[in-house]
Structures are given as C-alpha cells and as structure tokens.
C-alpha cells in the first residue's frame, strides 16, 4: 500500500514537472499580453520534432537537438505574436480573436508537422541512461532530470521577472501598458520577448518529453489541456501559484490513476476543474479582468 502510494507520488512529481513547465509558459504570455495561447502545445511538439531532426536525423547529438528545438520554438513563438496577435492589439475583442488565431496556429503547426515529419512515431534517446530510485520508487534517470530541471527553470523565470530589467519590464507591461510605454519600455518588444520566452519553454519541454513519450504531431494537445486545468486551478496571474497548482494536479492525477484507473482519471479532473470554475468564476486569474 505504502509502496503504491510512493510510486504514485513519484510519478505525480514527473507529471507535475511537465505541467509546471507548460503552464508557466502560458502564464508568462497571459500576464504580459492578456492572451491565452492555444498554440502552446503545438510549439512544444515542434520543439520535440526539431530536436529529433537535429539529434537523430542529422546526428548532431541530443544536446544540440534540444537547443535547436528550444530555439526554433522560440522563433515560431515570436512569429505567432507578430502575425497573429499583434494585429489585434487594442481591439476590444482581442482576447477572443487571439483565442481563434492561436487555435488556427495550432492547426497549422500540427498539420505542418504531419506533412514535414509524417505520422510515424519517433522518439529521442535519453539524456542519461539508467534508472533512479526515489523513495523506493523507480523512474528513469531521464525523468529524474526532468524532475530536477523543472524547479530550476521555474526559479530562473521567477528571478528573471523579479530582478532583471527586461523581466520587470514584462511585468510592467502586463500591469499597465500605457504607463510602461511612458517610461520608455517598448511594448511590442516586450510582447515579442514574452511570446518568445514562453515558446522557448514549450520547445524545451517538448524536446525533453520526446525521450519519454512518442513524438507525434498531436503530442502537444494533451499537455496543453492539462496545462489549462492547472491554470484554472492555480490562476495565470502568479508564477508561484501556477507552479504549485501544476504539481498539485500532477499528484492528484497520479493518485487518481492508482485509485480509479487510467480511464476515469481525466474525467474526474475535468469535473473538478468545472466545479472550481463554477465556485470561483472570477479571481482565479488573479483579478486580470
């Protein structure tokens, strides 16, 4: 019994790390621009495919692949901001229009990936081979890297937004665009940085996930949906709450899987999310509206 629970705890930690990386990317874009990026999962998928191409097809090594995947995703993120989000700044229905344009971007990326890379399953090698035992539960060393890396990355983002000039400028733009512009912050540049950073995070997550799961054009959909749940539970407004909610959802999910099995778990998660939203219809996003 204890062993099962510990195993669930550890696999919850792995899931939580994944969700935390995904959701914090969504959060960066939301807090800066007030845009919910539906293409976030697809950017993750692109990161995985590019990492695979560079690392496996071109044989340049896994680390180069991961770097390339992160970079290409970041560039695509900036492109999405430029073409699909920026034209609608200041529009009264910007939030809803960008939901639609980023949804379109998701379709384009997914179908584009299918054309470029085909539907055949691909997988990346692991960063480190072997297994690691945590609390008596065994996970692959690669998963352990993910678990260790996620808090470091989250911490780095947190320090970035809190301490650096650029990071602070993103927060300023998110809180008051006009005031930010009047102290000399280039608002469109801040938007592009936020999108690029968020997309880089998605690409990196995808490249890391590509060693654990199969790389397919639709591999980003499920993490995106889970990140949406996280975001609803924890709010998009603060990175700490988002990350906390991510680990919480990861744990709940892992425990539910043990308790109810694989099939009922997503159903219960979605039900929880709807119930949370019904009872906290506002303020979940940290009073952004």
């Amino acid at each position: 019994m204890i062993e099962t629970l510990l195993a669930a705890l550890v696999s919850g930690l792995v899931l939580g790390s994944l969700y935390a990386l995904m959701a914090s990317g969504l959060s960066v874009v939301w807090t800066t621009l007030g845009v919910f990026n539906f293409a976030h999962g697809a950017l993750m998928m692109v990161g995985a495919f590019v990492a695979w191409t560079v690392s496996e097809a071109a044989g340049l090594g896994l680390l180069t692949g991961i770097a390339a995947g992160t970079l290409v995703a970041a560039l695509l993120g900036v492109l999405i901001e430029r073409l699909l989000v920026r034209p609608f700044y200041g529009h009264r229905s910007m939030l809803l229009i960008t939901v639609m344009t980023t949804l379109a971007a998701m379709i384009i990326l997914e179908k584009g990936a299918q054309i470029i890379w085909g539907a055949r399953l691909k997988q990346l090698p692991r960063l480190i081979d072997g297994e690691v035992s945590i609390l008596g539960a065994t996970i692959s060393a690669h998963e352990a890297v993910l678990v260790g890396l996620a808090p470091l990355i989250l911490f780095a983002i947190w320090r970035f937004t809190l301490k650096t000039r650029t990071g602070r400028s993103l927060r300023a733009v998110g809180q008051n665009q006009n005031s930010a512009a009047l102290i000399g912050i280039d608002v469109p540049v801040a938007f592009a940085i936020a999108f690029g950073l968020s997309a880089a995070l998605a690409g990196l997550t995808g490249a890391l996930l590509g060693s654990i799961r199969f790389i397919t054009p639709v591999m980003g959909a499920e993490p995106l949906v889970k990140a949406m749940i996280v975001v609803i539970f924890g709010g998009l407004g603060s990175l700490g709450a988002t990350a906390g909610a991510a680990y919480l959802i990861g744990l709940i999910e892992a425990l539910l899987i043990v308790w109810l099995g694989l099939y009922w778990t997503p159903f219960v998660l979605f039900l929880m999310m709807i119930i949370v939203l019904v009872f906290r219809p506002n303020g979940i996003f940290g009073g952004k509206e």
Binding site: R168, R171, Q175, S179, A181, L182, I183, G184, V187
Partner: protein, 240 residues
C-alpha cells in the same frame, strides 16, 4: 527660433472622434509653460499625442530640432521628452523601489540611475519610507509622487505633468505644488496641466488656455490678466 518643443497644427483624436483641431504651441529653451481649460477639451489628449501614444492625423511635433511626429513612445522617452500622466495608476503589483529602478529604462537614463534615485527621494522623502511597499497599497498622494518620481527617473529634458494635484487634499496639494516648484527651479523645462490657475501663474512663464482642442488664448507676463479676469476667462468662457 530655438524652441525646445514646437507643436504645429496638430489634429488628433480617438478613431472617428477628433479632439485636437490644429493645435499649435511652443516652449522655449529653459521655459516652463502651463496649460489650463475646462475638462474634456483635449489637454490630456495633447500630452498623449506628444508622447506618441496617439498618432496625430495631421500637423507636426518637433523636439529639440528633431521631428517626433511619427516616433513611437519609447523613442520619444529616449529623446528626453517624458510625462507623468493624469490619474496614473502605475504598476499595482510592483514595489516603489522596483518601479523607480525600472523607470530609468532608456539608455541615457540608466547612467544616472543612482543619482536620480537620490534626487527623487530628496524631493519626496515619503517615497523613501515606502520603498518596499506595492504601488497598489499607496495613497493617492503617494501614487502621484511615485508617478512624478518615475518621470524624473527617465532623466527628462522636458517634463510634462498632467494634473499632478488632481483629487488631493489641500495639504497634499500644497506639498506637491512645492515639489513641482523645486523641479522647475532645478532647471528642468516643464509643461504643467492644472485646474488651479493661480498655481500655474506663479509657476509658469506662459499659460495657454485650451478649449475645444484649440489654443484660444496665450498669456504671458506682458498681458497677464488680474485675478478677476482669470476667473472670467476660466469659468465664463467655459460655461458658455
């Protein structure tokens, strides 16, 4: 003419609504001017247009011999043309210290960050006390101080203040008026929008009365009206 700022024939507004109708004014080097006039007649719109937040549909704005009309806000701030906007709410979740540090954003402002910060704290000792406090938790007067402080951190070569004493108690109003006075004494050219004409008369070299998006009267030392005339100008024409 070696004006620091020349606004000529500027027409601007919000979408289909035209607010400024061919407005012209100028500010000489080292000068301090005041703008006044009834509410809703375009003073804020003018400052926003000068700062690049609103694109004029015609006319031109020249600062220090340089055409600014089509520049975007960050480049205008970089040039040294800075404003503290009306009713500024700033960044609610940022601390006072952080906000001031961030405000020294443009390249030339960064070099003087430390000395400017000291100047701001000397001008508003209250801000220094509230350094770790979030902007959201400040009182109205303190926010106004923070807003002016931010503008000073941008290392302005011309500072525009949009109703710096709006909605403050008489005591705070006095405090801020004095602060504005000492900024002027430092030699920073100012454009001050105010409802309190007496204050403006004491502070500024020249005043512009703005109505319906146009300058309807320019007042300087030579044609300075007496108290009664100002009252008539202000309330009489505004009511009419």
């Amino acid at each position: 003419m070696d004006n620091l700022l020349t606004v000529s024939g500027v027409t601007a507004g919000y979408g289909p609504i035209t607010v400024l109708r061919g407005l012209s004014l100028h500010l000489g080097a080292g000068e301090c001017i005041g703008l006044f006039g009834p509410n809703g007649h375009g003073k804020t719109t003018l400052l926003q247009t000068i700062s690049g937040l609103i694109r004029p549909t015609s006319g031109s704005i020249e600062f220090d011999g340089r055409e600014l009309t089509r520049l975007r806000p960050p480049h205008i701030v970089e040039a040294g043309l800075v404003q503290s906007p009306q009713g500024n709410t700033l960044f609610g979740d940022m601390r006072v210290q952080e906000t001031l540090e961030l405000a020294a954003f443009s390249k030339h402002a960064r070099d003087d960050r430390q000395s400017n910060l000291e100047k701001v704290f000397a001008l508003f000792p209250r801000l220094e006390e509230r350094r770790p406090q979030k902007a959201r938790t400040l009182s109205g007067g303190e926010r106004q101080m923070l807003s002016i402080g931010c503008a000073l951190m941008c290392a302005p070569r011309l500072l525009m203040l949009d109703e710096p004493t709006l909605g403050l108690s008489p005591r705070l109003k006095e405090e801020l008026a004095q602060a504005v006075g000492s900024i002027a004494k430092e030699g920073i050219p100012l454009i001050v929008v105010e409802q309190d004409v007496e204050f403006l008369m004491a502070l500024a070299d020249r005043l512009y009365l703005i109505e319906h998006g146009e300058v309807v009267r320019e007042i300087d030392r030579a044609n300075a009206p007496d108290h009664d005339e100002v009252m008539r100008l202000y309330f009489g024409e505004a009511a009419g």
